[in-house]
Structure formats: structure tokens, C-alpha cells
């Protein structure tokens, strides 16, 4: 389970409850950005939750913040709350001040022939962009420049924007000891929590729908074929939440060395990525045609799931990465990882 009882999680849940009702994600997609929602999150300092106290944040427990991310994803957040949390976490890792306003993040592998580029979630909406450059061991903050952006075709309402970094001057930058795996651990864990939350929200919609909708003179929920489909989907949701919670617990435990949380984050990425079809297919199936209309809410979750499973590469890529690494170690090492979650120490 993701702990949603903490103060930060409760505050986020309250703000989303008050200012992100079911119509808000619809309106956001129609072009009416919910500035009041973003302002409320900001005024409460929530995007700074992971920033250390020296840099103006409140150095919150990882657990508490994952609870807030859970709440935002269950509300199909149309504002870049999780992205800003990640961006500010990165800045803090280089002891830089947090972003002004909203922010997103990019991982740069270094120049590759042409100009360095990166694909950035919420790239069209955020004020600033934090870039992690492993080759230089550097984290840098940029203003979001329209000239650098190429809008890409996106599955999700979060959008996707490709940035071309062409001699842009950073607002600030600093060296960091953070490794690529440490950065991946945090990003994959945040996405895992969002995905598990979105899956459960979509499950709730499906249960409510089949309980109301009648065909052949009775609610769909009374048909065994419907019950069994949703039972299977619900078990996949439960597994997704466990995988996300294990990853969250691992990075909380290794907050000073997030690279050590990489394996549990990858496990979550792979487990959840592979279960997206196993849940979105039955959710849409039991909703019939209503489920794929724009007017209905289901797509706020299913489209995000389809987009989020591609974050930093899809589940197939990450399965292969994990499998390749484990195939080189001893079977004892694999067993230890499976049973204890300790994939690092011998």
C-alpha cells in the first residue's frame, strides 16, 4: 500500500478534492488550464516537499510525498505536480534552489551527432526545465523557451514536447554526485505510483459503471463473465500497487544513495508496464461504447497509462535491461533479490 495518511498526502488530497472535480481534466484539455489548482498546490508549498530545508523546502519523508502523488494521479491531475516534484528533487541533489513556478525534467545522454535533445512531459506548460546530464555529472535549470520546442504527437493529455538544446544558457547549474541509475530510480518510482493510482481510479469507475448499467434486465455486475474479468483486473491493480509501494519503500530507505533503489524501481516499471493492457482492455470492454467517448472520464486514466508506460522507454526495454543484468549474476543473487529486495549487496 501507498501511505496516504500523512499530512502532505492529506493536504494534496484535500486540494485535489476541492479544485479538481471530474469536470476539471475535461476543461483542461479543452484549453482551460486550472491555474487555481496549481496556485493552491504552490501556496501550500507542496511542489517543494522533497527540497531540503536549506534550499527552502521541507525535506519531507518520501513516503508522505508518494501519498500526495497518489492523490494527484487519482484525480487525473492536469497540472505538472509530479513533474515539478521530480524537477525540484533533481535541483536539490545538486544543492541548487528550486525552480520558479512549475517545472519538468529531462535526462540527457550527451550530444549524439547533432544537437542534444530530450523529450519532456508537460513540456508545453511548465515554466522551467531541469536537465540531468550524466556525461558532465551536472544538473542544470533552464527557462522554458518556445523556440527550442517541437510539439510531438502524444497519447496523453500531459502532452510531449521535444526540446532541442542549442547553446541555451542555463539559469543555474552545478555538479552532482547523482548517477543515472539514481535519477532513473526516482522517476520510475514516481511514475509507478501514478500508474498504480490511475489503475485503481479506473477500476473504481468500472465497478460503478457495471453496477448501474443494465442489460438483459439486470445490472452488468450480476453477470459472471463481467465479475471474473474485473476480478482479474483488480488483482493486476493490487499487484501494481504492491510493486509501486515496494519501489517507494526502497527509495525512501536509500534516500542518500538512490542508486540502490534502482532494481526495485525497475521491478515496478516492468511489472506495472506489462499489466497496463491487462487492466485497460477489460476496463474499456465492460464500459462498452460509453467508455471511449470523450465525454466520459475513463480515458483520463487509460490514456495516461498508455503514455506513462513509455516513460524512459517501454516495459520491454526495461525487462531486457533487468534480465540482462540478472543473467550475469549468480542464481543465488537472483534469489536474494526476489526474497529480500536486496539486489545490491552480496
Amino acid at each position: 500500500m501507498i501511505n496516504t495518511e500523512g499530512m502532505i498526502a492529506q493536504t494534496a488530497a484535500k486540494i485535489y478534492g476541492d479544485l479538481c472535480g471530474r469536470e476539471v481534466p475535461h476543461e483542461a484539455e479543452a484549453g482551460k488550464y486550472p491555474q487555481d489548482l496549481w496556485d493552491a498546490l504552490s501556496e501550500n508549498g507542496l511542489p517543494l516537499a522533497w527540497v531540503s530545508e536549506n534550499n527552502g523546502g521541507f525535506g519531507a519523508d518520501y513516503d508522505e510525498v508518494f501519498g500526495a502523488i497518489w492523490a494527484s494521479a487519482q484525480a487525473a491531475s492536469p497540472v505538472p505536480f509530479a513533474e515539478t516534484l521530480i524537477a525540484n528533487w533533481l535541483l536539490d541533489q545538486a544543492d541548487l534552489s528550486p525552480a520558479e513556478g512549475s517545472a519538468s525534467f529531462a535526462i540527457l545522454g550527451g550530444p549524439n551527432g547533432g544537437l542534444p535533445t530530450a523529450d519532456i512531459p508537460f513540456g508545453a506548460h511548465v515554466d522551467q526545465i531541469v536537465m540531468f546530464d550524466e556525461a558532465l555529472g551536472e544538473i542544470a535549470l533552464f527557462d522554458n523557451l518556445e523556440a527550442a520546442r517541437i510539439d510531438m504527437d502524444a497519447l496523453s493529455p500531459d502532452g510531449a514536447t521535444r526540446f532541442v538544446f542549442s547553446g541555451h544558457r542555463a539559469v543555474s547549474s552545478a555538479k552532482t554526485g547523482l548517477s543515472q541509475r539514481g535519477v532513473e530510480a526516482l522517476i520510475l518510482t514516481v511514475r509507478a505510483v501514478q500508474m498504480a493510482a490511475a489503475m485503481e481510479a479506473a477500476l473504481n469507475l468500472s465497478i460503478a459503471y457495471v453496477s448501474e448499467r443494465e442489460q438483459f434486465g439486470r445490472p452488468l455486475s450480476k453477470f459472471q463473465a463481467i465479475q471474473q474479468q474485473l476480478a482479474v483486473a483488480a488483482s493486476e491493480c493490487a499487484a501494481a500497487t504492491m510493486a509501486a509501494a515496494q519501489a517507494a519503500s526502497s527509495i525512501a530507505q536509500h534516500r542518500d544513495d538512490p542508486e540502490k533503489a534502482w532494481h526495485e524501481a525497475v521491478v515496478a516499471k516492468v511489472q506495472i508496464g506489462h499489466s497496463v493492457e491487462a487492466v485497460t482492455v477489460p476496463f474499456h470492454q465492460v464500459h462498452g461504447a460509453m467508455g471511449y467517448t470523450q465525454e466520459y472520464d475513463l480515458h483520463h486514466y487509460t490514456r495516461r497509462l498508455w503514455a506513462w508506460r513509455d516513460a524512459l522507454g517501454n516495459e520491454h526495454r526495461w525487462s531486457a535491461l533487468l534480465g540482462e543484468e540478472l543473467s550475469k549474476g549468480s542464481p543465488d543473487h537472483v534469489w536474494k533479490g526476489v526474497t529480500t529486495g536486496n539486489w545490491v549487496d552480496s
Binding site: A234, S235, A243, G323, E324, T340, G341
Partner: protein, 384 residues
């Protein structure tokens, strides 16, 4: 709000210490040729001599008090022991069921005399139990049991038949769900009771059933005017249904529900080191991610049970996911092994893979079929 209750429980270093001694013992026994590893070892590989060795070393009876021959440890230690023996594919079937569910049942419902008599023998790896639930007319529809126990002057008189009783031919006792009074109209859950039956009593006949692999590890058990004393009624007369469903919930989430084929994967990993192609890497990564996730869920439930919470719906859900995973595992290993020419497979690899395939059908049947489990989950979702 989250629909299911699966708290993350990190490993406990004190519990982890248990592993090394057990791993060394299992390795030694295997290398000495005292057992050949097999998938589904907890159901189908029974070796009383091996069970006695485990008993002697203190790896049975962990969950109960030394007053009754136990080890004064907990179900969490037992969890570690069971997962290590499954990993090794060791012949643990003889004592498994008694250690898992009948000893706790006797602790709850047995007389002092029964506890002193039977529990130390279970802990020593010498006394085995069979489950007495299924009947020819009562499979998934368990409430349809017809075998009767009639009150007589000095106890209960039992007539009828149980079926699919694993290991009954080597077991000393069965705990059977029996009808002790008629159903109340359509409510068949009343009038059922659990009774302890000494399988050496006159009137008990045990006939083996041979399975598709040629093994005879399950049985038909017939009762003809079998008389057991009064104190063999376990728990409340008429309370059998509630007791049994509680018991099923306890046994559905253990490591045997998702690790029973792990030996197949581990055997393949030894052979495939450095030989896997990229397609196999992806298969392996996916499999390991599922195993790790299921371990988290199963361990979570073990800790809830340890704290006295009984998460029936979560347990059903873990069994469904776990049974699918252990059968998928066998199929995935078949795919992985394409990276190695069949004439380079070890003899063990062939044997273990074949046994895994032949023993796969019961995984999704025993202890609650997939369909029954999904029904439980659907009820939890409020759909029925």
C-alpha cells in the same frame, strides 16, 4: 483509499539469519544424493526420512510452543523455511500439511491430551495429516459434502467417502469436514463439523489414485462405520464451515502458491549463464519482476496473519496471481532454453522441466479453483 490491504514489510535481519543453516543443509543433502529436486515438491515429493531429518534439526514445528514439542518461533520463521525448501525442490510433502494447518488447528481446538500426543510427533517430522474436504460430489461446491458423522454413545460414527486426499496413504490422521446435522433448508453451511480421524482405525480404506504422470500421491478414502471418540470433534459442532473457510484463507497466500516451480527457473539459470539472447533477457526480467511483486504480496499477508488480521480476499487474490505465475514460469523457461541446444541440457534440466509440465494442472485447482478465487475477489469488489 486503496481497495486491498498489502502493507510493505521490509525483510527482518533476525529472520534472514535462519536461511544460511537451512541452505547449507539442503545443499549437503542434495549433493549427497539424498534427494533429487522437483517442482511441486510440497505436494508431490514425500520422503518420511527427509522429514525426520528436518524435524531433528528443528525446521518443523516452528510456530508452536516447546511445551508441545514446537520451537517457540513464529509463522514468519516458518515462511522463510518453506520458501527455502521450495527453492531447493526438497521432498517436504510428508510433513507440509500437518505443519502448516493441522498443528495450528489442534492448538486452537484440540484437547491437552491430543496436543501432548500429536504435536511433538508432527514437529519431529514423524506424524502426517491429510486434508479431508473434497468428495465425489463436493469439489468447488464444498458445502455439498455428504459424508456423515452420527452421534453415538461414546463418540461419532462416520460413513462416506473423501477424494483427492493427497498423501493419505502415508498419513496418520485426517481432519475431515463432515455433516453432523442436516442442512437448514437452503442454508447448507450449518450442520457441518470438523472431525479428527485416526486413519489406522477399523473401517477406513485408502485407495490410491494414479495421476497423469504415473504418480500415486492422492487417494480415495472410504469410511465405513468408523467410530472416533467425542474429543475428536474439533471446534464447535456445526461450526465447521466457518472454521474451514478461515483455514483456506490462511493457506492460500503462502510461498507454495507461487514458488513451487522456482526450481525449474533456477536450474535453467545455472545452465544459461552467459548464453542468453536479448529476447530471453526480456523474458527473464519480466518473470523476475512478477516473482518479486508476488513475494511482496505474499510476505505482506504473512505479516498480517502474524498480527492476527485475516485478509481473506487478499489471500484469494494472491493465490490466483501466484498460480498463474508458477505455471507461466514453466512455459517461460521452455522459451529461455531455446538459447541452449537440447543436447547440452543437463539431465536434471530435462527431468525437472518435464515434471513441472506434468504437475501443472492441479496448481489452479487445489485449495480453491481460479474461478472460485475470482468469485471471492468479485465479492470483495461489491459485484456479487
Amino acid at each position: 483509499m486503496q481497495r486491498f490491504n498489502f502493507p510493505v514489510v521490509p525483510p527482518d535481519p533476525a529472520l534472514e539469519e535462519l536461511r544460511s543453516g537451512l541452505q547449507a543443509f539442503l545443499k549437503e543433502e542434495r549433493e549427497a544424493g539424498n534427494f533429487r529436486p522437483e517442482p511441486e515438491c510440497w505436494m508431490a515429493s514425500a520422503d518420511p526420512e527427509f522429514s525426520r531429518k528436518m524435524g531433528k534439526r528443528g525446521w518443523i514445528g516452528l510456530t508452536w510452543s516447546s511445551q508441545y514439542g514446537g520451537r517457540d518461533k513464529s509463522a514468519l520463521e516458518r515462511y522463510i523455511v518453506t520458501e527455502e525448501t521450495l527453492r531447493a525442490g526438497a521432498p517436504v510433502a510428508a510433513h507440509w500439511i500437518a505443519d502448516r494447518q493441522h498443528a495450528p488447528m489442534l492448538l486452537d481446538y484440540g484437547t491437552e491430551e491430543q496436543k501432548h500426543d500429536i504435536l511433538p510427533r508432527i514437529a519431529a517430522g514423524e506424524c502426517y495429516f491429510a486434508i479431508g474436504l473434497s468428495e465425489p460430489g463436493a469439489g468447488s461446491d464444498l458445502a455439498n459434502v455428504k459424508t456423515k458423522a452420527e452421534k453415538v454413545a461414546d463418540g461419532w460414527k462416520i460413513n462416506g467417502q473423501k477424494i483427492w486426499s493427497s498423501g493419505a496413504h502415508i498419513c496418520h490422521y485426517m481432519v475431515a469436514l463432515l455433516r453432523t446435522s442436516p442442512a437448514d433448508g437452503r442454508n447448507r453451511h450449518v450442520g457441518l463439523s470438523q472431525i479428527l480421524i485416526d486413519l489406522s482405525l477399523p473401517g477406513v480404506t485408502i485407495k490410491p489414485i494414479v495421476d497423469l504422470s504415473g504418480d500415486a500421491h492422492f487417494n480415495e478414502v472410504y469410511f465405513e462405520d468408523v467410530i472416533v471418540p467425542d474429543d475428536c470433534l474439533l471446534g464447535e459442532e456445526g461450526g465447521g464451515w466457518k472454521q474451514v473457510t478461515g483455514e483456506l484463507a490462511m493457506e492460500r497466500s503462502g510461498p507454495e502458491r507461487f514458488l513451487s516451480t522456482y526450481i525449474t527457473l533456477e536450474t535453467a539459470l545455472y545452465q544459461l549463464q552467459g548464453k542468453m539472447g536479448s529476447a530471453s533477457h526480456a523474458r527473464l526480467g519480466k518473470l523476475i519482476a512478477s516473482l518479486r511483486t508476488l513475494r511482496g504480496m505474499s510476505w505482506s499477508i504473512a505479516n498480517l496473519l502474524h498480527r492476527g488480521v485475516s485478509p481473506e480476499a487478499e489471500a484469494a487474490l494472491v493465490k490466483d496471481l501466484g498460480n498463474r505465475l508458477e505455471n507461466d514460469l514453466t512455459q517461460e523457461v521452455r522459451a529461455l532454453l531455446n538459447d541452449l541446444p537440447a543436447d547440452e541440457w543437463s539431465e536434471d534440466m530435462h527431468r525437472i522441466l518435464n515434471i513441472g509440465i506434468l504437475r501443472s494442472p492441479p496448481n489452479t485447482l487445489r485449495g480453491g479453483t481460479t474461478e472460485v478465487l475470482r468469485g471471492i475477489t468479485a465479492r470483495q469488489l461489491g459485484l456479487r
